[in-house]
């Protein structure tokens, strides 16, 4: 983005006394390295999630270690494991309760597409319920894949701009009872 005409003069005049930067860049830098996870763990992928969080793969290296079990304090919802239709309203409710900005990480084949459970009881991909930011397939995905997915999500967060940030409530289900101040 080049600066022309009067803007260039103004920039030159102010360059000694004013630091011009983009708030977006700083904010997304902070967000990128500070995911507070909400572990929504329902099934066997949870074992692999423990491995990712544990000493061997250590998700804390990327600044995403702190699990907050209150959705108000979480940024990144890790949906780990099969979501049945009975579980779906709970998932939507927790998503609606999360405060902005929020991201969703579909962890494992079941969350991506229903996986091998192609039947009446299982949600065929959580993106039918809530917006998903990153899909990591695998049954279960290897920890390396999960970390790669996290790095890709960080790159995505850097590209996001403020105007687009609010995700709002889920398009399905009832809106959460909340006052936004």
């Amino acid at each position: 983005m080049g600066v022309k005409g009067e803007d260039a003069e103004a920039t030159a005049a102010l360059s000694d006394s004013v630091i011009i930067t983009q708030l977006d860049k700083i904010v997304s830098w902070g967000r990128k390295y500070s995911f507070f996870l909400y572990p929504f763990i329902t099934a066997c992928c949870g074992m692999e999630f423990m491995s990712v969080a544990g000493p061997r793969y250590d998700i804390d290296r990327f600044g995403a270690a702190l699990p907050r079990f209150s959705p108000r304090q979480a940024d990144l919802m890790m949906v780990v494991g099969t979501i049945s239709h009975k579980q779906a309203p709970i998932l939507v409710k927790v998503y609606n309760q999360m405060t902005e900005p929020k991201w969703v990480y579909a962890y494992g084949a079941c969350t991506v597409s229903g996986g091998m459970y192609d039947n009446y009881a299982t949600v065929q991909g959580i993106d039918t319920l809530i917006p998903v930011d990153i899909y990591v397939p695998g049954c279960p995905p290897r920890p390396e894949m999960v970390l790669d997915g996290l790095i890709k999500l960080q790159e995505k967060v850097v590209r996001e701009r403020h105007v687009k940030e609010t995700k709002g409530v889920s398009p399905v289900g009832e809106a959460d009872d909340r006052i936004v101040t």
Binding site: W29, G30, D58, G63
Partner: protein, 363 residues
């Protein structure tokens, strides 16, 4: 109050606020993260960089702060809006103002002006600390009640019961020390620990163990974190808090840690005193610099020694936090009322007998 004293007080308040909020609160957030990583054989946060410099993960605290400032500020429906907003403030303030009576150095004469390195030299400093620490309960209870959430309320109730129980025991653990030093003033107590063999820890180490246990329980950190037990209460009394308000509760916790460490240093570890060297000897050692500069050097060494002891006790508290599992709630109550309280009463009796018979020579 003259202008010089006014400036002196403002500088001291600035120093304490800078030390607690400015330095120790973000540093402890980093230490908590990094120490847990080291103790669990992990690497820990190390990716946040600034032009390629990661500064051993220190920038993650900055990233957290930036993110939390720009996080949505949330108030649930049906919440008591004013109190919901006020509660984090009420939680932070007492932990900060308790530091006012903790001496972080001795008395020094600099260029004809006597500097006493404590913000408020109260005659009843120890009582003041207990009075203020019981105020901290309000922030937690109000947060729990104003959130209009069952888990918050339960967390708040647990926190209030726990803090009141341990306040009783904590007050009693210090009685023996007050009898020994025959003063309620923190400045006097520190001054009487000039001799290494009069340090609180030498004569009163059982009281120190009990005091530290009570203090950690007051601070509601692991192993006494039943008020925010994730497995039972989601996040306890701050379940409905997001962004900076939620972090203010954590900041309060960290500042309380510093205050606890400061209290332990002042009561048990001789404050700013270097073992086996009195203040006069320390200043005398630099007498070739002239009386004023030698006093200044002694003052700086004293403050440095105080901070060194503070850091050692903070690391001890961190290690306790990452070593212990959480107590069950009834176990916390039993420990407080049935073990620590009788033990501290017994200790008062022992100290009384010791002072009467002359076994414990009161300084």
């Amino acid at each position: 109050m003259g202008i010089a004293e006014m400036i002196e007080t403002i500088v001291k308040i600035g120093f304490i606020i800078g030390l607690t909020i400015g330095f120790f609160a973000p540093m402890l957030a980093w230490v908590e993260r990094k120490q847990s990583a080291v103790m669990q054989d992990r690497i820990g946060a190390n990716r946040a960089d600034f032009f390629g410099f990661t500064v051993i993960g220190l920038l993650h605290s900055l990233a957290d702060a930036i993110k939390l400032i720009f996080k949505e500020d949330f108030i649930p429906r049906g919440a008591e809006r004013a109190l919901h907003t006020l509660a984090p403030v009420i939680a932070v303030i007492p932990s900060l103002i308790a530091f006012a009576v903790i001496p972080f150095g001795g008395k020094y004469t600099l260029w004809g002006h006597e500097v006493n390195l404590v913000i408020a030299d109260l005659d009843v400093g120890v009582l003041y600390v207990f009075a203020i620490s019981s105020l901290a309960t309000y922030g937690v209870v109000i947060a729990g009640w104003a959130s209009n959430n069952n888990w918050s309320l339960l967390g708040g109730l647990r926190a209030s019961a726990q803090m009141f129980s341990y306040e009783v025991a904590m007050g009693l653990t210090v009685i023996g020390l007050i009898m020994f030093y025959q003063s309620l003033s923190m400045v006097d107590i520190v001054a009487k620990q000039d001799n290494f063999f009069h340090w609180g820890i030498i004569w009163h180490w059982p009281a120190f163990v009990l005091f530290l246990a009570c203090a950690v329980a007051e601070n509601k950190r692991v192993p006494f974190d039943a008020p925010e037990a994730e497995a039972e209460l989601v996040a306890g009394y701050f379940t409905e808090y997001s962004g900076m308000k939620f972090v203010m509760f954590w900041t309060a916790e960290f500042i309380e840690m510093v205050t606890i460490a400061g209290l332990c240093v002042a009561l048990f570890f001789g404050g700013h005193h270097v073992p086996f060297i009195t203040d006069a000897e320390l200043a005398g050692g630099f007498s070739f610099l002239g009386p004023n500069v030698s006093n200044l050097v002694a003052m700086l060494i004293g403050v440095g020694v105080f901070i060194f002891k503070l850091v050692a006790l903070l690391i001890l508290q961190m290690t306790i936090r990452w070593t212990m599992p959480r107590f069950r709630y009834d176990q916390i109550m039993k420990l407080g009322w049935k073990m620590i309280l009788p033990l501290s009463l017994t200790w008062i009796f022992i100290v009384g007998v010791g002072i009467l018979t002359g076994v414990m020579p009161s300084p």
